[in-house]
């Protein structure tokens, strides 16, 4: 090796050294042409499909520009937000919305809890039961909340109760799936310990599985409550109660200042619920580990 200046730049490497490096690290010098070509083709395919979709869905620049102009006018009409003397009505509708979300989530969680164990492979190993229950949950989940609301309106009439039932049905499918996946991923050692010391199947579930999954399930339920406050705001569009009813009507008659007030109310409420449930979730999951630490401290 010849002595070098301390400040080395890439240009200082001579071809022989590069060849040596190439031999030592063939991976770093591999030609990227193949993967790049593939990626380029994939992107081109996606864009071509997008272009085709735009043609099929009647995208037109003229409509877009005219609409944007009108949207600009609308955004001026939004200001300033003003309840127009209906603040109290709106607040009650907001309370109704929160009630719908709460009852719907709670009912879904209560229904999904037993389903979590029935549809989990490590509790009910029968593949037929597993398949049937999971696909059943999938069916409940793939029907949108608004469609469920339309169906329940036929049963209990217009109003928030139909909305709560709709959320309960849609979320039962989603929570049931998530819960049973949580049960399936639990560490099996605790359950095996219970079985080995003579516990029955139900003991295994009660003392081996439930303590491990409960914080996870709780945090998932909180997360769903958050997202349900959002879906409960629109359920009024089909007449199933909550703030959506006012929102729809006021948008249709272009009372945009009241709409802006409603949207502000929703934003503030959702942000508040987000903040509370984030803290609760942290406490729930952190609390479990703290309890564990306490127990260890007690034993030592």
């Amino acid at each position: 090796m010849t002595p070098r200046e301390p400040a080395m730049t890439p240009r200082d490497l001579n071809p022989a050294e590069i060849a040596a490096l190439r031999q030592r690290y063939p991976g770093a010098f591999r030609s990227a042409r193949g993967p790049r070509l593939l990626a380029g083709l994939a992107v081109a395919g996606l864009l071509a499909l997008a272009g085709d979709a735009m043609v099929r869905l009647d995208f037109s620049v003229i409509r877009l520009l005219a609409g944007l102009g009108r949207l600009g006018e609308f955004s001026l009409m939004l200001l300033p937000p003003d309840p127009a003397g209906q603040a109290w009505t709106f607040l009650r509708a907001l309370a109704e919305t929160l009630g719908i979300a709460f009852i719907g989530t709670l009912a879904a969680a209560l229904l999904a809890f037993p389903m979590a164990f029935l549809a989990a492979r490590n509790v009910v190993p029968n593949p037929f039961v597993h398949f049937t229950l999971r696909r059943g949950l999938d069916v409940m989940r793939s029907v949108d909340v608004l469609i469920w609301a339309l169906i329940w309106i036929n049963v209990v009439g217009l109003g928030p109760f139909a909305g709560a039932l709709a959320i309960a049905c849609a979320d039962f499918g989603a929570l049931g799936k998530l819960f049973s996946e949580a049960v399936e991923t639990v560490d099996a050692k605790a359950g095996e310990g219970v079985s080995a010391s003579g516990g029955a199947e139900l003991h295994r579930i009660r003392f081996g599985l439930i303590p491990a999954v409960l914080p996870v399930l709780g945090s998932q339920v909180l997360y769903f409550f958050e997202s349900n406050t959002r879906s409960a705001t629109i359920i009024g569009i089909v007449g199933a109660g909550g703030i959506g009813q006012y929102l729809t009507e006021l948008i249709r008659v272009l009372e945009l200042r009241q709409v802006a007030f409603l949207i502000l109310m929703i934003l503030v409420t959702v942000a508040a619920i987000d903040a509370v449930s984030t803290r609760l979730r942290r406490a729930l999951i952190g609390g479990a580990s703290r309890q564990g630490r306490n127990l260890i401290g007690l034993n030592v």
Binding site: V143, R230, R252
Partner: protein
């Protein structure tokens, strides 16, 4: 050297103290559980009052629900299965076209939203954003886009742009921008910063840093979240028709409102099968993607 040591029991006073501490801990956790349950019951009562929960109405009318299910089920007989199926799906050319439209809406909405989220996520991620004020503003904007439900955007856009699937796409795209922008930004915030530092030290500009230090770390997660969102948007696009924003929703709304029972089940089955197929497909793709790149 092995020593066998007999286990000596704890002195009684130590054992008693430990047992007492254990009982105390158990009692404290029980008290917490009961307090939590009491709060839950009170909240449930309030929520039930607000949501006008009437279990007796449900109990009294649950027959209507089963009746409804029985009514929408098609009359299929083994003897004339082909004919019955043809009658059940009498509108299949139209329905399939609408279903295709729904899928295209979901695809385009997801793609446009993902592009929007991609462009905004670097400004919203605390570790690579250039200005704190810009980061705050972009985050609030994303929050707005994701909190206002897509149907509400669709309602407003229908008035501005006129009826049709373009409105549904725009509404989905804005909501998706908000949702994906936040998730993307979280992914970016969790990257390993060492490549970014070394590229900055080597004199790379912002675009080069993002392209060669950030992007390789986040791309697989971005695609995975995008696929997840596509799945959600297919469901969302299915109901866009409720407000006149295109897709199969309009047909379903008409069928439900006008009590065309067999049509309701035919369209519902179509939607359910499509959503389930896309669920399975995207799940496979995501596992493949995350498994292949890690």
């Amino acid at each position: 050297m092995l020593m066998v040591k007999p286990i000596t029991p704890l002195p009684p006073d130590r054992a008693a103290a430990l047992a007492q501490a254990y009982d105390g801990a158990v009692a404290a956790s029980r008290r917490r559980v009961w307090a939590g349950l009491a709060v839950l019951v009170v909240l449930t009562g309030l929520a039930a009052k607000a949501a006008e929960v009437r279990p007796w109405v449900l109990a009294g009318n649950i027959g209507k629900f089963t009746d409804y299910l029985a009514q929408i089920l098609p009359a299929l007989s083994l003897g004339n299965l082909g004919g019955d199926l043809a009658e059940w799906y009498w509108g299949w050319p139209k329905w399939l076209a609408l279903l295709g439209e729904t899928l295209l809406m979901a695809y385009l909405g997801t793609l446009l939203g993902a592009i929007g989220g991609f462009l905004l996520c670097f400004a919203a991620a605390g570790n690579v954003a250039r200005s704190r004020a810009g980061c705050f503003l972009v985050r609030r904007a994303l929050e707005f886009c994701r909190t206002v439900p897509e149907i509400v955007f669709a309602l407003i856009f229908v008035i501005a742009f006129g009826l049709g699937p373009m409105v549904g796409v725009l509404a989905l795209a804005i909501h998706t921008t908000g949702a994906l922008g936040k998730l993307f930004a979280e992914v970016v915030e969790n990257i390993d910063m060492k490549p970014v530092e070394s590229l900055t030290a080597a004199g790379a500009g912002r675009i080069e840093t993002l392209r060669f230090a950030v992007l390789p770390q986040v791309l697989s997660n971005f695609v995975s979240y995008g696929l997840l969102r596509f799945e959600i948007n297919v469901r969302g696009a299915g109901v866009m028709g409720f407000v006149g924003a295109g897709g199969i929703g309009q047909e379903l709304l008409v069928a439900i409102r006008n009590f065309y029972y067999a049509d309701v089940s035919a369209i519902l089955v179509l939607i359910i099968l499509t959503v389930m197929a896309i669920d399975l497909g995207t799940e496979r793709l995501r596992h493949h993607l995350l498994g292949g790149l890690r």
